[in-house]
Symmetry: C3
Subunit: 151 residues, 3 copies
């Protein structure tokens, strides 16, 4: 199955690329690498507000990470025109808005990692760092940035 067939099988529709409200751009290409700006978790188009360890459960955080990976995939589709042009999802940095006592950032982050492997297969096998941020812009619960290699 192609990436798009897998997305359809998962009943995932990709969103439009969000244009940053600030003085930066969603993606910069350098050689065959795409550096993708941090995408914050959104729900119904608005920042998905909450902190793991207090207002949000690990399961909800994992779902937020999955949704953020979908948004990021939407950005990659918009920028490449064809997700099959992606050679490898190289690296993710996954920030989890965390209280000082929440220690399951890796489980939250799996929401994103599992989605990308499900959709991209071996192309989606990435290196990753996940950790707790003191806060995230707009109070969002998750933020994900990526480095992606093109064919």
């Amino acid at each position: 199955m192609s990436v798009y067939e897998k997305l359809k099988a998962l009943d995932v529709s990709l969103p439009e690329m969000a244009v940053p409200v600030a003085a930066f751009v969603p993606v910069v290409r350098a050689g065959d690498l795409l550096f993708v700006s941090g995408h914050i978790a959104k729900k119904e188009g608005k920042p998905w507000i909450g902190q793991l360890g207090s207002s949000l459960s690990t399961e909800v955080g994992k779902e937020a990470a999955r949704r953020t990976a979908i948004d990021l995939t939407g950005t990659l589709h918009a920028v490449t025109g064809d997700l099959e042009k992606i050679k490898q999802i190289v690296k993710l940095m996954i920030l989890v808005n965390s209280t000082p006592s929440f220690t399951e950032q890796h489980i939250v982050a799996n929401g994103a990692s599992e989605f990308l492997q499900e959709v991209f297969g071996p192309v989606g096998a990435h290196a990753r760092s996940a950790f707790g941020a003191a806060q995230i812009p707009f109070g969002s619960c998750v933020e994900i940035e990526a480095v992606v290699q093109l064919r």
Copy 2:
């Protein structure tokens, strides 16, 4: 206008490159990419101490981010010998020393992003992640690292 003319028009003078006091270097080149170490915000040559959400306002944090971007530009000048050799400011990671309730990291970060776009024009259009750190070395309020591509 050249980058240097823009800096002059903004009345910005670049500082000397700060030599890290530790076992690392300010910049490493790999191929045509420069990986620039995290620069902490400084005021009058000393760490600009403070935390957003308590001791510092968003406006002051934004000014600290702008000053840090100036210092980082000074490092790039020292390393390249000529800022016109820069093809693209590829990516910034902007850490904002934040209390658990401060959620305007993106506004603070704009202090750096807007400066770079002002000075470098399209060459300064970068991808970015901004988020809240629990603390930053020396208690500084902002830290910025960068990936830069050379021509």
Copy 3:
């Protein structure tokens, strides 16, 4: 002395590469760059739990960072088959599990930076960002990711 001779002189034995328990991989290669996943600090094979500023001293944190750099070197050995194939340790991101008042992340991080320079010499001279994370997966006290260039 070769890298392996230096390791022996330091009485350091490299561990096996830890296979992530999640949907990601330890290292991804893109061109001549290796992107290495965040390695959390471990003690006797288990997460080295603690937070700087409360349960752990700066000295212990520095030792944890050194141990994490050893583990990361073990991963690089497993992936490359020969550490002499490394052209440059390009960049480290060093996260220190910190209370809001702990400001010596740079000293903790030196545990990793000094080890890499000791073992790799000029090849180990890297760019770096170090900062305080609100938490780290499993409650570990330190997490380190790396970008490495191959010859």
